[in-house]
Symmetry: C2
Amino acid sequence: MRITAIAGGVGGARFVRGLLAHLHSSPDADRRSTEVTVIGNTGDDITLFGLRVCPDLDTVMYTLGGGIDDAQGWGREGETHTVQGELAAYGAQPQWFGLGDRDFATHIARSQLLGLGMPLSQVTEVLCARWGLPEQGVRLLPMTDQSVETHVVIEDDEGRRAIHFQEWWVRHQAAIAAQQIVAVGMERAVAGPGVLEAIRDADVVLLPPSNPVVSIGIVLGVPGVRDAVRGTRAPVVGVSPLIGGRPVRGHADACLAAIGVDTTALAVAGLYEDFLDGWLVDTADAEAAWPARLAVRSRPLLMSDVDAAAAIAGAALDLAVELQGDRASA
Amino acid sequence: MRITAIAGGVGGARFVRGLLAHLHSSPDADRRSTEVTVIGNTGDDITLFGLRVCPDLDTVMYTLGGGIDDAQGWGREGETHTVQGELAAYGAQPQWFGLGDRDFATHIARSQLLGLGMPLSQVTEVLCARWGLPEQGVRLLPMTDQSVETHVVIEDDEGRRAIHFQEWWVRHQAAIAAQQIVAVGMERAVAGPGVLEAIRDADVVLLPPSNPVVSIGIVLGVPGVRDAVRGTRAPVVGVSPLIGGRPVRGHADACLAAIGVDTTALAVAGLYEDFLDGWLVDTADAEAAWPARLAVRSRPLLMSDVDAAAAIAGAALDLAVELQGDRASA
């Protein structure tokens, strides 16, 4: 079986880790031999201290590779902050984005290879090899090799202006209202090697509980990606990022507000209405005026640990298989 | 008083630290208010992991700023090696050059500013501000803002080829005979801002006990520098890098062999014969057929600690002042 997931950071990474746990422990030989392709959001990418930082790719890589700071959800476990302290002593900017020493090494290694002319997709493959992703049957594909950076239009004492997504998210904790979210460079972007094929040729396409605007929404904005999701023969099953109408973590509500969409499982499903076949929502969000053509299932969606995430991923996969069966018998 | 010193790495840094200790503790008000300009060798510079590393500038900066690993002579005290270990895990190359976490921060900060288009001289000023060099009356000027890299021609099982100086010095410990030493990019290089003026307008020019070939020799090779040293009205006093016909540390003998020069204080003085006025040698090297026009003095030259280095620097300065007096009375 071939599963393709479109993932952002923490939520996407934990979901895919649960998916792998489910697959590798499955009594079903087909599931145990499944190949998983993760299409990663690179809109969060930012150049800090001259180094290219890809937060979402790294969160997926560290989480699947066992190097994540699990309590925090991002960054490396056992992290130290010597480099950042020294950079502060030199007055280097910015200081609002925390990078640990282990994490710095990833950005140095990435930037070195990018500087030699290697595209991000190949660089990511090199980095993921160290984390054993191929041995787990996982490919992590950046959505594009071009630079696409999500910027947020805000208005405050300094006037109306666009700032990098990370400045809004990390520095301001999304506390300033976003008036618009813009993916700078998107019109020039080309889907990364293998991205469109992975969607078109998948047996199942999954949307993990990632941010529908600045993670999944950005990936869907890469030219050709949304059309590929619309056109794939695979069932497309999403997992709601909300529990009881609230994001589990992060500021999805602030992002949804920026595009004029309610923070409800129904409204988020509406963002995917042109391709979504199945929708897994939390028990607390089961009641809504669901469209007749959408197969909605509900269960607890809190990914409190790997086992919980595995059960959720298994339920999403069961729904996809059910939808495949419906199609085969139709 | 204005003193200009042409310095390489460890020997130059320790000499200048001793010079400052001598000056700041001097009963002579003129010496206490002396401005010291250090013209630093950048031929050792190398790009590692995509970051620009300037070993000699950093050794001077860390030594004068109190951040040096004093036992080792280079690098930062209290250093850790998390980043390097992670880079090795990613398979990043090369692994033969050891960089600590604190040191990495310097290279990241430098590379960030260089990447923004700031010339190395300005970048060095920014970095030195953190280490309090201006407060000590010290300016550290890179010999040039252009990239000049010392390469060494060797011949071994892989044939005759040129390798970067650092690869020869650090990786091979200068154990492979150097057939030629080439400063790549030197013909395009322009002396850095203030370099020629600092030599021309100095009251005293000092050559610390740095490597005469790959440190002082490289700086003298920058177009205009040797002419400035020849033309300065200041006395030029050198401190021999040898004790008993042997380098105190490093591989000056292997470098001298590469240019067909004996490892003797007399032969090293010969490299400077077109401008050298005074020459301070170790007691063990006092006996030689010295040229009549060269003022030679001997004393113990082992810089075992700051006090010893201060005494040596004081002796070099005394010789320069004596030579100034001779000129004034001539």
